[in-house]
């Protein structure tokens, strides 16, 4: 059981760290997006803006194949976005306009990958086909489940040592840190891993669909309510304002509107689909359809089965989009616990084996590989995220494929850590990488204050808690990295007891 835990944790460990880190960050996906689009003002979409959006679409694209209106949530960092597909064109040729959520006026905002990239990185990774990434992530998540369950058995003292965290005792301290972060948020770790696998359900088990349906499209058609046929009644179209129809749909169904799509908007008697934002635990993810001619909801009497409802609830639990700010923070902090758990497990592997090395200066290749990967992945990915935020503020606004370059900056910085650290002794490498990481995180609020009008002090005055909180988390991250770097630098390796050394030397002979 112990070796199962060791290897199920170590082999996918670096990928698990990346998944945990980016997943944890993604609980604040919308807040990060808002920070990364400082031109946007906060606040929910006004009825006036919605009607202006509809007016713009009627004016610019009266004969389009379809219209799409994406509404940001009250906490969201995306703009009110309207897009349309010109008649006969494909989805790739769609046109897009960004509007201010309050006035409905067209606005220009910097191109950014936003929090959404960090979220996609969590399960789609980057620079590789999405399906490959998802298979890798699925395997890692399965190993995680095995590692958690075998870990409860292996570290059998976790319940008697529940409250124990002893510092300054080398391997013992690392074990304590690993155990404490694991056990304190154990319900979260189990839930997030299991529901994570549930979100990848059809990647892992496509056969449930292929055994029962002709293709996956047929499956989705049977789960989601089919779009109703537009009414053919001769009644003169009343064409109520868009805001009125959305408000009505929200009032009747209790949903929060997320995306609105209108097919064949030029044809009289069309229908409009309103997709929910998904901010309620276990709520339907099905669209609500509205008859455009009179603004009435079309009740299709569509009910989903228990299995689909369970799946939807699991996905909601995993993503936590339903949570109010307090619960969101709890999700985030539990996620930080998980990230530290994975990192401490990885470091523990090396600490445990370093003590057994006959000569610490000469280690075998496997040991060196794990040690270097630990530095490169743990310090590297954290550095990358800091640079990603800096790039958002520093790259020229008019730069071509700016959003892509934000992402590239993240990986260039991460790669930089990988190139820099192998040439340094392990301890120096950790110290330098973590110190660089701390400096970069500390720079984020500074660069933000210099390049935008939304620095810490103006945000405090405006009581803009998203911006204040973002700067706060960056500073906390800088302090955490600096503290760890200082701890590593001031750490003096204790000489292994003679008895142990002799035993180890004898074992190698």
């Amino acid at each position: 059981m112990a070796s199962l835990h060791t290897w199920a944790g170590l082999v996918p460990g670096w990928l698990l760290f990346v998944i945990f880190l980016f997943g944890t960050v993604s609980f604040f996906n919308d807040e990060i997006s808002r920070w990364m689009r400082p031109e946007l003002q906060s606040g929910s979409v006004s009825a006036q803006a919605l009607d202006r959006a509809a007016h713009l679409l009627r004016e610019r694209a009266p004969d389009a194949d379809s219209w799409n209106i994406a509404l940001p949530s009250a906490r969201s960092g995306s703009a009110l976005t309207i897009s349309w597909i010109p008649a006969g064109a494909s989805w790739r040729e769609r046109r897009e306009l960004t509007l201010d959520g309050i006035s409905g006026r067209e606005i220009g905002i910097r191109k950014t990958a936003g929090g959404n990239f960090l979220y996609r990185m969590h399960f789609d990774l980057h620079y590789m086909p999405v399906m490959w990434a998802r298979y890798l992530v699925s395997i890692a998540a399965l190993s995680m489940l095995v590692a958690i369950l075998s870990g409860v058995v292996t570290h059998k003292k976790i319940f008697t040592d529940f409250f124990l965290l002893r510092f300054g005792k080398g391997q013992r301290s690392w074990l304590d840190a690993h155990n404490v972060t694991a056990i304190l948020a154990l319900p979260f770790h189990l839930m997030i891993t299991y529901t994570g696998l549930a979100t990848l359900l059809f990647t892992l088990m496509p056969w449930a669909i292929s055994a029962n349906f002709a293709d996956s499209a047929a499956y989705y058609e049977s789960v989601y309510q089919p779009a109703p046929q537009p009414s053919t009644a001769e009644a003169a179209p009343r064409n109520p304002p868009l805001s009125e129809m959305v408000a009505r749909a929200e009032q009747v169904t209790g949903m929060t509107a997320g995306t609105i799509s209108i097919d064949k908007p030029g044809v009289a008697g069309g229908t409009m689909a309103i997709w929910p934002l998904g901010d309620r635990l276990g709520a339907s993810k099905d669209a609500v359809y509205i008859d455009m001619s009179n603004g009435e909801l079309i009740d299709a009497h569509h009910h989903v089965g228990g299995a689909v409802a369970t799946h939807w609830t699991m996905v909601d639990l995993h993503a936590g989009r339903f949570s109010f700010p307090v619960l969101r923070w709890l999700y985030f902090l539990s996620g930080v616990g998980g990230t530290v758990m994975v990192a401490s497990g990885l470091v523990l592997w090396t600490v445990k084996r370093r003590a057994k090395l006959p000569d610490p200066t000469r280690s075998h290749i496997g040991f060196r590989l794990v040690e270097r990967l630990n530095i490169g992945v743990i310090a590297g990915s954290c550095t990358g995220i800091a640079v990603y935020f800096l790039a958002n503020r520093l790259l020229p606004v008019e730069m071509a494929s700016r959003a892509d370059w934000e992402i590239n900056s993240l990986f260039i910085a991460w790669g930089g850590v990988f190139v820099w650290t192998p040439g340094r002794p392990a301890k120096r490498a950790w110290t330098e990488a973590l110190a660089a990481c701390a400096v970069l995180y500390a720079l984020v609020p500074v660069v933000n204050a210099l390049t935008t009008a939304r620095g810490l002090i103006p945000s405090l005055i405006a009581q803009d808690w998203v911006f204040v909180g973002f700067d706060g988390v960056m500073l906390a991250m800088a302090v955490a990295c600096a503290f760890t770097a200082w701890k590593v630098a001031s750490h003096k390796a204790k000489a292994a007891p003679r008895r142990k050394v002799r035993a180890a030397v004898e074992a190698t002979l």
């Binding site: 124990l164 965290l165 510092f167 304190l184 979260f188 839930m191 635990l281 709890l330 539990s334 616990g337």
Partner: protein, 96 residues
């Protein structure tokens, strides 16, 4: 407000559970309590955790409430661990 109640109930639950353990009794109180008292502490600790779950469920609904309860449980336990790490510092301050 409800969040505070859930948190404080979980916190007292974990403190009671901590004090029900022989090792921590020695550390914090300087003596070992009798098995009867230890069991009473353990039971009341679990009762406090159960009560905090009930508060969360009744006020937030059982779905949202249970997610929030697990979150606060983690935070409360983390605070108890933090207190335990700084035990000597705290005890030194408490002494006249």
């Amino acid at each position: 407000m409800i969040h505070t109640a859930i948190f404080l109930l979980s916190l007292s639950g974990f403190i009671l559970l901590l004090l029900a353990m022989a090792r921590h009794q020695q550390d914090w109180l300087g003596l070992k309590l009798s098995p009867v008292i230890s069991r009473a502490l353990r039971l009341s600790g679990f009762a406090a955790l159960a009560l905090s779950f009930a508060v969360a469920g009744v006020d937030f609904g059982w779905g949202y409430g249970s997610v929030a309860w697990f979150g606060w449980l983690t935070m409360a336990a983390a605070l108890v661990v933090a207190l335990n790490v700084n035990r000597e510092r705290i005890l030194r301050k408490g002494r006249p």
